[in-house]
Amino acid sequence: MAKNNHGSSVGTYILIALILGVITYVEFAIVEYPQAWLGTTMTLVVLAALSVLKFVLVVMFFMHLKDDDRMYSGFFSSGMVIALATFIALTALFILPRSMAYNESRERAERLEGQLAHGEPEAAAVVEEPAQAEAAPEAASEAGSEAAEASDWDRALGLQTYNSSCVGCHQATGQGLPGVFPPVAGHAAELYAAGGRDYLVQLVLFGVQGPIQAGGNTYDGAMPGWASFSDDQLANVLNYAVAELSEAPADFVPYTAADVASHRGDGLSPAAVHDLRDQLGLN
């Protein structure tokens, strides 16, 4: 019973405090000095295990659950079980679907890349929009003619980049979500034709924030900058947006990595990019 038990001895407390301190230092060291041989997954497992170990040590020795009445453990465990269940439910609802969708789009892009390597551009266009039955014929013919006349940009890389990070908001065919995410299809070419060749590069590098008009709708949101992508990836995702998701203007010259590189140092804020957009005179 609790009454007769005055907890562990001071020696035990000191030992536990030392262990807790050492574990905290090890956690810090694992993150500050990453160990390549451990790998990302194993590092996460080790960090989780150390955290659980600290948790258990404090509960067992400092909160005395180890020697105390079972009823306390019962109450506390019930709370922990419900908390964990809530946690798992939230993960299942919000985190798993997202990572599954991400993996799916990656696989699709990889499959497509494989097909392109074997020189089957038409097949690629079909795979790209399996669910877009109505838009497919149009897009396929566009893609076909595009691939035929202008192969001086890396379509597979553009598509892969688009599918990895743009498709979530702007959707597979680039039509966006009316009122929520603006379209890329058509609008990218419109911006290009309005003298926005450089603006488009700055847009993908630094993002944009503020009210805009596109495709007859008003949008007041924000797009993050994607400077973490390589020059090559950004150049080709722009080519993909202007020449494939949209109908390319007659004077369109595909972007090159050098075009993107020349703007990397601009250091613009999303609001400053919005000002540049205003200067194009579109809205």
Partner: protein, 212 residues
């Protein structure tokens, strides 16, 4: 305090319905205050479980910066985590001292816990100020909202704990205190350790994992 300690008086009679004390039948022999504290901590588990789950559900969903990797500071937070862990250590020493009627030591360690708790809060105030200067506010992006709600709620818990222990300390000068009152320090300690284990989880989930 001493008057209430009578609640835990020796049972007059025990039977199938529980224990008969001077205050009537009770279903357990355990001190009410301690049982209630554990029930409260169980409910607080669910509270923090939901907040941490929400933080993760919105993780990587911010459209604009600052992002976690831009602002979180591992060395700084490691130090503040260590301070909070050591305050838990002082807490068990304080309880041990009160149980053996060593009142000067009890006062010393309790003041130490309150001091370490305040140092932890100082780190948090510094961190929050730094984040706001970096452009991260509670309505800047989803990271800001979920981060400040989660760590802010934890900070309020720490503040309550510091005030509780200071009140305990001041009371020990106003009215004599002895080992019979230990159960009241014990529940303050349980609360304190709980706040510590919540931080153990936050430190790993919010801070460390971000940099793996």
């Amino acid at each position: 305090m001493s008057a209430h300690a009578a609640d835990n008086a020796a049972p007059v009679q025990t039977g199938n319905r529980g224990v008969l004390t001077a205050h009537g039948w009770r279903s357990t022999r355990l001190p009410d205050v301690k049982l209630l504290m554990w029930v409260f901590l169980a409910s607080d588990c669910m509270f923090f479980g939901s907040l941490i789950g929400t933080y993760l559900a919105y993780h990587n969903r911010s459209l604009v910066g600052p992002f976690p990797i831009d602002v979180l500071d591992i060395p700084l937070t490691t130090v503040s985590s260590f301070v909070l862990l050591m305050s838990s250590f002082l807490m068990v020493l304080a309880l041990h001292a009160l149980r053996i009627n060593d009142i000067p030591k009890f006062r010393l360690w309790t003041a130490g816990v309150a001091l370490f708790g305040s140092i932890f809060l100082g780190f948090q105030v510094y961190e929050f100020t730094h984040f706001v200067h970096a452009g991260l506010t509670v309505h800047q992006n989803l990271f800001g909202t979920t981060f400040f709600i989660l760590t802010g709620t934890h900070g309020i818990h720490v503040t309550v704990g510091v005030l509780w222990l200071l009140a305990f300390l001041i009371q020990s000068y106003v009215r004599p205190i002895n080992s019979k009152d230990a159960v009241y320090l014990e529940i303050a300690g349980l609360y304190w350790h709980f706040v510590d284990i919540v931080w153990i989880v936050i430190f790993t989930v919010v801070y460390l994992v971000e940099f793996v």
